[in-house]
Assembly symmetry: C2
């Protein structure tokens, strides 16, 4: 998989890929992945985690999710889909594919082309 993307299969990258793709689709932050790696007894530096996440993203293995908050989340689900965002605990959840459709997409201003349409449905816990 790594080789197929032109990335050397190093110890760290293989371990991180293992964590990322072990249990279905995930939304994880750099810090989150770093912690998981540590508790899985895979000592990687935070810098390497950042490098790896960006390289994976460039290789199309991950997708950066821009929700609110200051943190960047990475999504192991690279298919076309949108997200719920729980404001109470900064949690990102996939909206099942086909679970929603975007209506009329507007014409982009002249000279521009659309690269992607992102929909974020913000949620709050009902009290």
């Amino acid at each position: 998989m790594l080789r197929g993307s032109g990335l050397r299969p190093t110890r760290q990258r293989m371990a991180l890929a293992g964590i990322l793709y072990a249990k279905g689709n995930r939304h994880i932050s750099a810090e989150g992945l770093h912690e998981e790696a540590m508790s899985a007894k895979v000592p990687v530096s935070l810098a390497t985690v950042y490098n790896t996440l960006h390289q994976f993203t460039e290789a199309g293995l991950l997708r950066e999710v821009a929700v609110d908050g200051s943190k960047t989340y990475f999504d192991t689900n690279v298919t076309d889909h949108h997200h719920f965002f729980v404001e109470d605990d900064n949690q990102v959840i996939d909206i099942p594919e086909g679970g929603m459709g975007v209506g009329d997409i507007p014409e982009p201003p002249p000279g521009y082309e659309i690269t992607r349409v992102d929909v974020v449905v913000r949620l709050r816990r009902v009290r």
Copy 2:
């Protein structure tokens, strides 16, 4: 306007409000507003700009726009609408109201309610 929102009309707040609402709808970052204030000969500290932006947002006078990038943008247009985001230069543009519709909004997971639906149409300059 400030009084109506329960905010004391201080020199700085009035000056910042003036800049914000002077020329139609705007998308501005804290740093951007600070710079404009400075060149308008209104010396305010960056901390005060941040305070003011957040207070205005809480008061419903502004809306925080979560696009990509590390910066936070504030929108003087608080009506229901969505955004174009130009990736080349981090510019936020309003999609005219009614210019697009969101299709089927999905059921939120049980125990949650929808607070808002944000659509960001990402653009790239055509080369």
